[in-house]
């Protein structure tokens, strides 16, 4: 298609007029830095998602940022026990706003297979901190984690950082 053909079609504007906030949100959406918190089995699937075959980097999601102060999301991957609850709360408070939580796996969603009869398992991480995206599965497949991140991106695009 040459230049002449292009001129025949509808005129494409060379300049997009958007609010500056929207630009920020678009940028935030494409550069999520999650705090990977491998608590249990789901942590291994999360590692697999970061590694060769699934490669989370292509969505702008970088791995290996273990400090909550530089992160904008936490992935709670695994069983939450009573002993770890104070640590989760503390790390959540250390994160700068806006912050998002992904609960990965049945254990983090509700207690999962350890719901009944266990004396030490917390029945869902949402009893401790607010959760944005729930990913079911025991453990969820890497594709499910990717889908969870995409849902989080939708959420980020739909709201404004300035309002948060």
């Amino acid at each position: 298609m040459g230049l002449k053909d292009a001129q025949k079609g509808p005129v494409m504007p060379a300049i997009h007029l958007v609010k500056l906030e929207k630009l920020f949100d678009w940028g935030r959406k494409n550069s999520i830095w999650p705090l990977p918190w491998a608590l249990a089995c789901c942590g291994i699937e999360m590692m697999a998602t970061y590694a060769s075959r699934f490669d989370l980097d292509r969505f702008g999601i970088l791995g290996g940022f273990p400090s909550p102060r530089q992160c904008d999301a936490i992935v709670i991957a695994g069983t939450v026990t009573k002993k770890i609850v104070p640590v989760i709360k503390r790390l959540y408070q250390q994160m700068p706003e806006p912050k998002y939580i992904i609960a990965m796996g049945n254990c983090a969603n509700s207690g999962g297979i350890f719901y009944y009869d266990s004396y030490n398992v917390v029945k869902g991480v949402d009893t401790v901190i607010p959760v944005d995206v729930y990913i079911p599965g025991c453990p969820p497949r890497p594709e499910a984690l990717v889908e969870g991140f995409l849902k989080l991106q939708e959420k980020i695009l739909g709201e404004s950082a300035a309002e948060k």
Partner: protein
């Protein structure tokens, strides 16, 4: 006037290189560790208590989630402990398939261990290479069992189902392609001069201390003790295949990594032999053992997991549910060595030493 003072540093429970939720408080003199206080229990889920309220069959999925990088091995140890308790016989074909899958999972587990060991010294490439081959093993598992990480494939009296068509050829292809990759890891990481400088002579363990602590697996074998339950107390088909028990003498971090690498070669050797002589027949005993009701007695059965002696001590009271289930977890025992090992080492080497013990916290805390 300069004053001297010890410095306390807290590592974990949220730390990138503790391999899970592990906390260790280090007492430092400059850069040298003079004291350490490990703290575990952040993943204590009470599996032993839960299992007292489940039937024997219902406990099986819980064992998957103990040592989650070696779920087949856990299933195997539990299933064989119950079979020993209840006196259930298993067909030859089922035993051979169990051996193959347990060895494949040993490779998958060692791949994670070596890959993360690379991360700890800043070698990211090896991690990616190791996970590339691990995905192929997981594909094989998925074809056979339907799960990537948690399988529940071994059942009392045999297997959930027979291997799908063409699986054996795929596994054979994997074995053929895998061995050159092991050489690749050896060149990239284990024989890399920088890695050698970092890990040789670090975290030295001697034979008597290792035995005294009850360490097992590569941690014990790195000190010059040739103790491997596959050879010393053969179960499944291990007495019918040829393989060597890998052991070294120095007992440092490098030795433990090298043993894991060499064990991957030995596992491939075992798998190859079994794939070539896979017996024909049924994979599940005649009567489907859905409800197992053992007699009133107790039994202990241990297998060699990638981390060492994984044993299940079961007490039955003659009902549908186990009266007591104790899990003898190798990672728990090996991790108790950490206090001894890190003393006198530099603080930068502490993650390496923890990594070389290869703890999996689902199993440590149970």
């Amino acid at each position: 006037m300069v004053e001297k003072q010890e410095f306390m540093i807290n590592m974990g429970p949220q730390h990138p290189s503790t391999h899970g939720v592990f906390r260790i408080v280090l007492e430092l003199d400059g850069e040298t560790v003079i004291g350490a206080k490990p703290e575990i229990g952040y993943l204590h889920r009470g599996v032993e208590k839960i299992s007292e309220n489940r039937t024997y069959e219902q406990v099986l999925p819980l064992t998957d989630r103990l040592d989650y990088v070696n779920a087949m091995g856990n299933n195997l140890a539990y299933v064989m402990a119950v079979e020993k308790l209840a006196g259930i016989q298993v067909s030859e074909r089922a035993q051979a398939i169990r051996t193959i899958l347990a060895e494949l999972n040993r490779i998958a587990s060692h791949l994670i261990s070596i890959g993360t060991q690379g991360l700890e010294v800043g070698a990211y490439t090896v991690f990616l290479y190791c996970f590339r081959e691990r995905e192929i093993i997981l594909d094989l598992f998925e074809r056979a069992t339907g799960g990537r990480l948690t399988y529940t494939y071994f059942r009392f009296g045999g297997l959930f189902q027979d291997l799908p068509e063409g699986w054996v050829e795929e596994a054979r292809d994997f074995c053929k392609e895998f061995l050159p990759h092991v050489d690749e890891y050896e060149d990239l990481l284990i024989q890399n001069p920088i890695y050698k400088l970092r890990t040789k002579g670090i975290g030295i363990l001697n034979k008597n201390i290792a035995l005294n602590y009850g360490a097992s697996g590569p941690v014990l074998r790195s000190t010059g003790v040739s103790w491997d339950l596959r050879k010393d107390s053969p179960y499944l088909m291990y007495d019918q295949v040829e393989f060597d028990v890998v052991y070294t003498k120095n007992g440092d971090v490098w030795d433990r990594a090298w043993i894991r690498l060499e064990e991957m070669r030995q596992s491939t050797r075992i798998i190859k032999q079994l794939l070539d002589n896979l017996p024909e027949g049924e994979v599940q005993a005649e009567e489907l053992c859905r409800y197992v009701v053992p007699e009133e007695r107790s039994s202990y059965f241990a297998v060699e997991s990638p981390r060492g002696e994984l044993g299940f001590f079961l007490v039955s009271d003659g009902s549908l549910k186990p009266y007591r289930m104790k899990i003898r977890s190798p990672a728990f025992v090996n991790l108790s060595l950490v206090e001894t090992l890190v003393k006198g080492e530099k603080v930068a080497d502490v993650p390496l030493i923890i990594g070389s013990l290869d703890p999996v916290f689902g199993e440590v805390d149970r």
